[in-house]
């Protein structure tokens, strides 16, 4: 069924596929509501998405083109009756700003396997190279347009594989072309820099062309978060059984930047025991304090008299030594120094409660990136009959003049679809409806580096590094370093995410931290500064993302049955998004259970005469007219096969565009 032939009636229409929206979609479908879930983007998860390297380049390009919606609109005026009025939605996404890209790596001449005939490189290869070979002094401070990556004809599609089989010819050729593009890119670069001296390092330097070529090994998160082992998200994944759609790895290390060094934070019992940097008395003090924090509610006498104090002052009053204060404040509680005592205790407790559930640190990271998680929920929604359309949006809402409620929406095909509730991501709301709204911003940096911030015997480690404010007033920066076994970066590299609440632009906020922690690789003719143990940055991207979590629902001028979902926040966990989703769900379906466990397939009765969307979803031969009913078990298994395929691909090294991205619940709208 095509996008212009959707059913005209739904219980809930959801616009945007971020985490909150996806959870709402899953929860609603699960209790039998008819859900239409659309996103104007070509990929799932909105600002929660993860991209392959090439996908990210396309995303950057999209930004550079002014974030225009690629969806054509059809006139809708004839769909509105008298007694109704319309409310337009925004067609432009303005949530990303200050995007800047730097490339510090060059091409190696002897990269022969790259030499393949291909189409001309659309991803303007000269720009990154110019930067790296050119004016070294300015690199960090001269973000100009020509450093931004690529412009070219791959814009029509991202390499993310949201709708592979159903793509029309033009799109498939787009994909194919893109593959050629990588090869061509490499070739051209190697032609351009034939004289680039081969680095004398024992370890081969990784060239930009190599990154492009291995681009599919990357899964770069737009928003960098980890999952608290006992956070709301993990609990929900377990409760709803959605966890089976994804795999996770433990974060191995908690590190911090202290006195010019990156060092390990002893946070678990085993860490404290094994720590060489703490004296035995410090060990006792730390353990004692952490044990207290674990059940701090039971000892109100310990902190009641200090409610006016900051958490930091409280730590000082507990006679913790300087390094212990640092560990607790910045790495365990992860609160700013001015945070109140209760806030500090609460977040310390949250951290500690998550310890030891799955490993030695409190955090999990989803393999293939955070973008998997919203997709997992979408998939669950599809399994229970939710209908999915990407590159499809809602132009406007149809409001009943009398009640002021939203009766229907008109999609980008001009079709009127009635619904009882409309859920929308903040980014789709026009400025007119959010006049008084003040946004916060998140500063983000994504780096590809050549080695770990703290090298150890184990190469494959996922680390969280907390960097306290470098100077008073500066933001505390959170660094997540991912290794290649998380399937988010190519072997031999590390993917580093930096995040903080914005004070200025991302580059202003994060640049100083990056230059403290990382080195720039020596360019042509430069001597490798021997002894610099810091990892070298191969490629970097900075941008700011709008943080709409602080906005009250009442600040929006919207009908009461329109529910707004905020984008990601700057915090490490995803609790806000889940809490929001649950709240919205309870408004949509009062009294219903929020994401109960999915039943075992063998417990489902197939021969019932249940209505549409039920039978079709569960493996019964699907009647043609019920084809709209989204994913079912069959599709699920297909997707599973795909997932396995992709794993094989990871190990065998045989790249295949089709299996690169998995876990997409099918997008039935593209089926013909």
């Amino acid at each position: 069924m095509a996008a212009d032939n959707l059913p005209t009636e739904f219980d809930v229409v959801i616009l945007g596929t971020g985490l909150s929206e996806s959870v709402i979609a899953a929860a609603c479908s699960r209790v039998g509501q008819r859900v239409l879930h659309v996103d104007r983007r070509t990929y799932y998860a909105g600002n929660w998405a993860s991209f392959t390297f090439n996908g990210l380049l396309s995303w950057i390009e999209e930004y550079n083109q002014g974030c225009q919606s690629t969806v054509e609109t059809v006139d809708w005026r004839d769909k509105v009756d008298s007694g109704e009025e319309i409310l337009l939605l925004s067609t432009v996404d303005t949530s990303i700003s200050n995007l800047e890209v730097f490339c510090y790596t060059s091409e190696e001449p002897e990269e022969e396997e790259e030499e393949k005939k291909g189409a001309a490189a659309p991803t303007s290869p000269q720009s990154p190279i110019e930067v790296s070979e050119g004016d070294k002094g300015n690199q960090a401070t001269s973000p100009t347009d020509d450093q931004r990556c690529p412009e070219g004809e791959t814009t029509s599609d991202t390499p993310r594989e949201g709708q592979p089989e159903q793509q029309d010819e033009a799109e498939s050729s787009g994909l194919a072309e893109e593959q050629q593009v990588q090869n061509g890119d490499g070739e051209e670069q190697s032609k351009e820099q034939p004289s680039s001296p081969a680095p004398m390092e024992a370890k081969k330097k990784i060239s930009y062309a190599k990154i492009i070529k291995e681009g599919r090994r990357f899964n770069i998160d737009l928003v960098s978060k980890l999952m608290y082992s006992r956070g709301l998200l993990v609990d929900l994944l377990i409760k709803s059984n959605v966890s089976r759609y994804a795999e996770f790895k433990n974060v191995n290390r908690i590190l911090t930047y202290r006195q010019g060094n990156v060092e390990q934070v002893p946070c678990s019992r085993a860490d404290v025991f094994g720590s060489k940097q703490l004296t035995v008395v410090e060990k006792r003090m730390l353990m004692k304090f952490l044990t207290f924090c674990l059940d701090y509610e039971q000892y109100p006498e310990e902190y009641q008299d200090f409610t006016e104090q900051t958490f930091w002052e409280f730590l000082q009053s507990k006679m913790l030594t300087d390094n212990l204060q640092h560990f607790v404040l910045h790495s365990i509680a992860m609160v700013p120094p001015e945070a109140r005592i209760k806030e500090g205790l609460r977040s310390t407790q949250h951290f500690l409660r998550s310890l030891g559930r799955y490993g030695n640190t409190p955090f999990l990271f989803p393999i293939y990136g955070l973008g998997e998680i919203p997709q997992c929920f979408c998939r669950m929604s599809a399994v229970f009959g939710g209908i999915y359309c990407l590159r499809h949006s809602v132009q406007c809402l149809v409001l009943d003049k009398e009640t002021g409620r939203c009766k229907a929406v008109i999609d980008t095909c001009g079709q009127r679809i009635s619904c009882s509730h409309f859920v929308v991501e903040d980014g789709y709301i026009r400025v007119e409806q959010r006049k008084g709204v003040e946004y916060r911003y998140i500063s983000r940096a994504v780096l590809i580096t050549d080695r770990s911030l703290l090298q150890s015997d184990l190469e494959q480690q996922i680390s969280l590094v907390t960097v306290p404010p470098l100077e008073p007033g500066a933001p505390a920066v959170r660094v997540v370093e991912l290794c290649s076994s998380t399937m988010t970066c190519m072997p031999g590299t590390y993917l580093v995410h930096l995040t903080c609440s914005s004070l200025g632009s991302a580059l202003e906020d994060l640049g100083p931290v990056v230059s403290k922690l990382f080195s720039k690789p020596p360019g042509a003719g430069e001597e490798d500064a021997g002894g610099d143990e810091r990892p070298a940055v191969l490629w970097a991207m900075y941008f700011n993302m709008r943080d709409s979590t602080g906005v009250e629902r009442s600040s929006y001028e919207l009908p009461s049955n329109v529910h707004v979902c905020s984008g990601p926040d700057a915090l490490l966990g995803s609790d806000h998004a889940i809490r929001l989703a649950e709240e919205v769900f309870h408004q949509l379906a009062p009294g219903e259970d929020f994401c109960p466990p999915a039943p075992n397939p063998e417990d489902i009765i197939y021969d019932g005469d249940g209505g549409q969307g039920e039978g079709s979803g569960f493996g019964k031969p699907v009647p043609a007219e019920e084809d709209t009913a989204g994913g079912g078990i069959e599709e699920e298994t297909a997707a599973k096969d795909k997932m396995e395929g992709s794993k094989k691909e990871e190990t065998s090294g045989e790249s295949s565009a089709e299996v690169c991205k998995v876990l997409h619940p099918s997008a039935p709208i593209t089926e013909e």
């Binding site: 039998g32 353990m287 004692k288």
Partner: protein, 612 residues
């Protein structure tokens, strides 16, 4: 609501599950019966192997089937080539891995794996070690796996260093693991053995030093570790108990590190009474009365000794020998006596004692197995005589902890005190401090020790009685030490909250005992060791029974005011003390009984001075 997924009701699901289970059970039972009948027929074939495999993978704890399987495998060994056997056993190992997944703590599976590993023509120990590794990473306290691993390590000759690193790693990931710590304690003495000199600070026994010293050291110090390594271990274990002072595994290891010396074996005291014609010898540890005889030279009388009557336990100290009548009654003569103590572990030394120079003879023949001490006694004209080993000083009670250098103990005490400041409620820390203090200076730290015991009882009320007994023991030890210094035969320990009485073997020569105002509930059988006791005061306790006052030859006065004696039968034992004349029972329930006076007079006729 429409569109909802329809689910089977829980009853339907139950029913399906039940049917499923029934079907499984039927298959299981029929295979089991087939197995049994095949075994009965003595069939050792492939099919039986298949059948048992099928059953055991469902239930790996079926010992009979494992036995059957071993029978089959042993038979197949005889008819197949080595390569085939190798393959057969390798398949067996793979099968066992499946069983371990069903139950990683199955006795049968692990045992069978151990058996297969030893039968394998070309064992792959690396594979076995990595299996153990995986198992322990899932559950680092799986003692079945630990056991099996020890076997593998032994058979494959893994270097001790490597094993020590292995324990390092496991302790590093979670130090609450007795198995790791214990394994460490067996590895360290192998890797860093302590030198015998450094480990033997105690004096040699004063008498017959020539023959006792070589026999003592090798056994005594075999489990000790060299000083340098010990210091490292102290650091490690301190890290553990500072990190989590409530974890007892680290404290137990710490106790091991601090050492538990085996006491020097010696005859601590020999007492001879001419009047009673008996010799009493006290030893530093209980000796097996039934196994060996006490030789009194030059009489060369193999007198069968006996322990104190009540205990049927074969081990006893002291040991009593009643001499044949008239042996030492000749007051004009000097009687020289020597007590030889032979702890016989072989049966080939009977003839050795006939020579006049027994001591030398024995040492030459079986120096290690034999420990002899000679105490010459002079009995000229006096009615009694004794000889005691003057080792009854500080060392006597210090053996709980035996770190070689007191400077080490001192610094350990400091770090424990530091921990106690941070954790004033920690029982392990308190107890360790008490032990350290006792090892360092029991009398000097007496006050602190008592205070710590008080705290211990408060913080760990479940073990109050244990602490009371321990404290009593320490108080008695201290009193004995003081008494030794004063060289008196009076033992007085009043108003010290004693809950038990011990070390009575050290009081062999005491004539006056005062235990008033304590919390004693009885006078235990060991009281019968007090062969010289004349006056016993135990007022203001809660004593109910007196079974220890048995056959005390010189007991004259017993004062038991304000106790809890209520039954006349409990007093019957007093009739075995021939010299008892004065008995004070005032303030006991029994004093209220009618006719008590006359009944007592009948029961204990020797008492002339009865106070009720």
């Amino acid at each position: 609501m429409h569109g909802r997924v329809k689910l089977k009701s829980s009853a339907q699901q139950e029913e399906e599950k039940r049917k499923e289970r029934e079907k499984k059970l039927k298959v299981y039972l029929s295979s089991r019966d087939a197995c049994f009948s095949k075994r009965k027929q003595g069939l050792l074939d492939e099919e039986a192997l298949q059948l048992t495999q099928q059953l055991l993978s469902a239930n790996p704890d079926f010992a009979t089937l494992w036995n059957y399987r071993r029978e089959i495998l042993l038979y197949l060994e005889t008819i197949r080539s080595e390569d085939e056997i190798q393959r057969l056993y390798e398949e067996e190992l793979s099968f066992l891995e499946i069983c371990l997944k069903v139950n990683p703590k199955s006795y049968g599976t692990w045992h069978h794996r151990g058996w297969v590993s030893t039968r394998l023509p070309r064992p792959d120990w690396a594979r076995e070690l990595s299996l153990c590794e995986r198992c322990l990473s899932l559950d680092d306290r799986n003692f079945h796996c630990w056991d099996y691993r020890r076997m593998v390590v032994k058979l494959s000759g893994v270097p001790v260093e490597q094993e020590l690193q292995f324990t390092d790693r496991l302790i590093g990931s979670n130090f609450s693991n007795y198995s790791s710590w214990h394994y460490r304690s067996t590895l360290l003495p192998l890797l860093h053995p302590g030198s015998p000199e450094a480990a033997s600070p105690r004096r040699e026994p004063p008498t017959s030093s020539t023959c006792s010293s070589p026999s003592a050291s090798p056994q005594t110090h075999s489990h000790r570790v060299c000083e340098e390594q010990l210091l490292k271990e102290y650091e490690l274990v301190q890290n553990a108990f500072f990190t989590d002072p409530n974890d007892q595994s680290a404290w137990f290891y710490y106790r091991w590190l601090l050492g538990r010396a085996e006491r020097e074996e010696m005859i601590s005291c020999v007492y001879v009474s001419r009047e009673g014609e008996r010799v009493v010898a006290a030893f530093s540890r209980p000796v097996n009365v039934s196994l060996h005889t006490l030789h009194l030279s030059p009489l060369v009388l193999a007198v069968p000794p006996h322990s104190f009557q009540h205990s049927c336990h074969p081990l006893s100290s002291p040991v009593i020998c009643d001499l044949p009548p008239g042996t030492i009654s000749d007051t004009s003569n000097e009687h020289n006596m020597t007590v030889h103590w032979t702890e016989r572990r072989t049966h080939r030394d009977c003839a050795l004692y006939t020579g006049s120079d027994v001591c030398v003879c024995v040492c030459v023949c079986i120096p290690v197995l034999c420990l002899q001490l000679t105490l010459p006694l002079s009995l000229s004209g006096r009615s009694e005589s004794w000889c005691r080993d003057s080792a009854t000083d500080l060392e006597l009670f210090r053996s709980e902890l035996s770190v070689e250098k007191s400077s080490v103990l001192q610094s350990e005490l400091q770090s424990c005190t530091q921990l106690l400041e941070l954790e004033p409620q920690n029982k392990w820390c308190l107890l360790t401090i008490i032990l350290l203090m006792r090892a360092l200076d029991p009398l000097g730290y007496e006050k602190e020790t008592l205070a710590y015991f008080q705290t211990l009882k408060e913080v760990d009320s479940m073990r109050t009685s244990y602490y009371s007994d321990l404290c009593s023991k320490f108080m008695i030890e201290n009193t004995i030490l003081k008494m030794e210094y004063a060289e008196v035969r009076v033992f007085s320990l009043c108003d010290k909250n004693l809950s038990t009485v011990c070390h009575l073997d050290q009081l062999l020569l005491v004539t006056h005992i005062n235990l008033s105002s304590n919390r004693l509930l009885s006078l235990p059988p060991q009281f019968a060791m007090l062969q010289c006791l004349e006056v016993l005061q135990a007022d203001d306790n809660a004593i109910e029974s007196l079974e220890g006052l048995y056959q005390l030859p010189r007991l004259e006065e017993v004062s038991l005011k304000n106790n809890n004696i209520s039954q006349i039968s409990h007093l019957k034992v007093l009739s075995t003390c021939p010299r008892l004349t004065r008995l004070d029972l005032r303030g006991n329930p029994i004093a209220q009984t009618a006719n008590i006076q006359s009944e007592l007079a009948e029961l204990v006729p020797s008492v002339t001075d009865l106070l009720l």
